[in-house]
Symmetry: C2
Subunit: 382 residues, 2 copies
């Protein structure tokens, strides 16, 4: 039997049926009053999710387009920026910054390790002339399952006073609290196919008043990703360019679902999923790629020693129709990643772990006690 | 009764049910073999629709993002470009070019008039030093319902030899023949919510070998819209950034429908729709904003004299649930526009015209013979 595909990858994440069905509604004109009502509602709910009164703007594009918009709207060529990089996405923002001729200084850490906050403190403190215009970091690094200490780094940015705090929250928004106003985060970018529980195609960017001040003098060239135009249109519940109407239908329903669940519940569910998976993985005697104290609530990377990672992925996919993610770049074949963000509940966690156990058994792995993983997960979920 | 909304606007256009339902299928991973198969198929069909062996790349974004990508990938700051502008979209490409610090020379015509091909010939001929790097024109100007003489202007560009021919084909691709290879068009951009019969959210760009040569030395900054990355990925049936998976489901079905209908049939259907609407409008004694010889196959602008344009739109919308477009910018309130591209057939044309007649009657217009519009349309469709 060819069972339904179960997505346990860090994006696209599973899309709830009500969201899928909403997207099948006939398209309407984006300049209509009916569409403006949708725009108004989703914008309000996005601000709720971001815990902010800042603008939260919607761009038709991937998470990368949102993050690129977040960088290029507030800077000029030659501006000095600090980019934290401890994985594929940190690397990407350094590439974006270089492509736009910014003066990029990368603070890197090994893949699997968190960014060293101390390096940010020292570099920012040493910048007496306030040349650093922005600090760019990835909150949850999807490629390794590490969460960076945004709060601490942001504290140093606030002490610096001049630099803008720009955050890739693509796999953290909706999975863990990102209190934009409380922390004073200037630019926070995210994408629809993650915690938002809708298919890819929309990016989100929140922008602080301080960032809008910087926008006024920023000279990097832009048009489609010019957030000033989005802000002007959003004030009239509209969009500067034709928005993906059907994805907005899905977004509307998904945000209603998140609202009904409640912010604290959403975050604690992700926390529970993460812990259950990690405890199960430990009970199966498999190595976790990131340590407990820096583990992402969105994705868990596992570095199996007794069985090849790709064999595990392949059996999970073929026999149980469960998609796991592989390693990226130099981690290809060395790790597999379990996505547990978005529309993932207790049942999914148990399903995934029990299939993982069955997979290991089939691959001849005798290095664990059958049932130990499910039992450990059940204890956390109980 | 609140009837289904009928879209007779120049985008978003009506989406066929099989396309809507396809979009409600569960999202799959974009790095999976299953998605690669979809990517392969839609890319082949896009080349068929563009009548080309050139790359046809798919960008997650609006038509504007596709056109911006088409401009910025092949040019450097200071490059001299000729932009044809006889409506809102021509104006937009001049704005994009200026935002990227190109040396922009606008050849404009009054809204409702076509671009003067002779001005292009003279300017290109006078450019003995071959400083002009690109000629940018809008094929079908959505804001006025005028189609520009792309073939003639392209001929002058070919004689010039150096300049790239860049075309906004947003409302012409899929409505009228745009023979990319036969004419040697270098860059052709379009968007999903038009002739493609799917909701907004995808943009398409075809790129000639000559444009790829220019890409090698072009220095405008870009990352998300860097078409080189899309080309590299497309060669492996993949995407550089997470693609809108569910919109791809819709695209796959829509292109299959177009393929089944056949290219010539698709174009003759649009031609027939255009003529039927124009003959009906004439029979009702209403003024057509563009003359017959330059009328777009996608959209017809009507400048009614006896009754206010916005009253007609409002009654059509309220009583018959038919959405027409209004005028843009200085044409607001002066014209209304009937979209007839994409999934629009003979029945829709008759429905729209009969509702237009009923609307005029209700608004007290005695300046026409009831039934004359439908009769004129029927004659064309017969």
């Amino acid at each position: 039997m060819d069972d339904d595909l179960m997505l346990m990858i860090p994006g696209p994440t599973p899309v709830p049926d009500p969201v899928l069905l909403a997207m099948a509604k006939p398209t309407i004109g984006h300049r209509s009053g009916d569409f403006s009502l949708i725009m108004k509602e989703v914008t309000e709910h996005l601000k709720w999710l971001h815990q902010t009164t800042n603008d939260v703007l919607i761009v038709a594009g991937s998470g990368t387009s949102a993050m690129e918009a977040g960088i290029i709207n507030f800077l000029s060529a030659g501006d000095r920026v600090l980019v934290g990089s401890n994985g594929k996405f940190g690397d990407r923002w350094a590439k974006v910054a270089k492509a736009y001729n910014l003066n990029v200084e990368v603070i890197s850490a090994e893949w699997g390790q968190p960014l060293d906050t101390e390096q940010f403190r020292q570099t920012l403190e040493a910048d007496a002339n306030k040349e650093i215009k922005a600090v760019i970091i990835t909150h949850s690094e999807t490629s390794t399952g590490v969460i960076n200490d945004l709060q601490t780094i942001n504290g140093y940015v606030k002490t610096h006073g001049t630099a803008l705090m720009m955050v890739d929250a693509v796999t953290s928004l909706g999975a863990i609290s990102v209190p934009v106003d409380e922390w004073g985060l200037d630019v926070v970018a995210s994408g629809s196919q993650k915690g938002y529980m809708i298919p890819p195609g929309l990016g989100f960017v929140s922008v602080s008043p301080k960032a809008w001040e910087a926008y006024k003098t920023a000279t990097l060239p832009k048009f489609y990703l010019d957030l000033g135009m989005y802000s002007k249109s959003a004030a009239k519940d509209s969009n500067p360019f034709t928005p993906p109407v059907n994805l907005f239908y899905g977004l509307q329903v998904a945000l209603q679902m998140l609202k009904a669940e409640g912010l604290e519940q959403v975050f604690s569910r992700h926390q529970r999923s993460k812990t259950a998976i990690r405890e199960a993985v430990k009970a199966l005697g498999l190595s976790l790629f990131a340590s407990d104290d820096v583990a992402s609530p969105a994705v868990t990377a596992v570095a199996p020693e007794r069985v090849e990672a790709e064999k595990i992925r392949s059996t999970m996919r073929k026999q149980f129709n469960i998609a796991l993610a592989g390693g990226q770049d130099h981690l290809k074949g060395k790790i597999f990643r379990i996505g547990h963000l978005g529309f993932i509940g207790d049942r999914d966690i148990l399903t995934c772990i029990s299939a993982l156990e069955a997979t290991l058994q089939q691959l001849g792995d005798t290095g664990f006690t059958p049932g130990a993983g499910v039992s450990a997960a059940a204890k956390v979920l109980g």
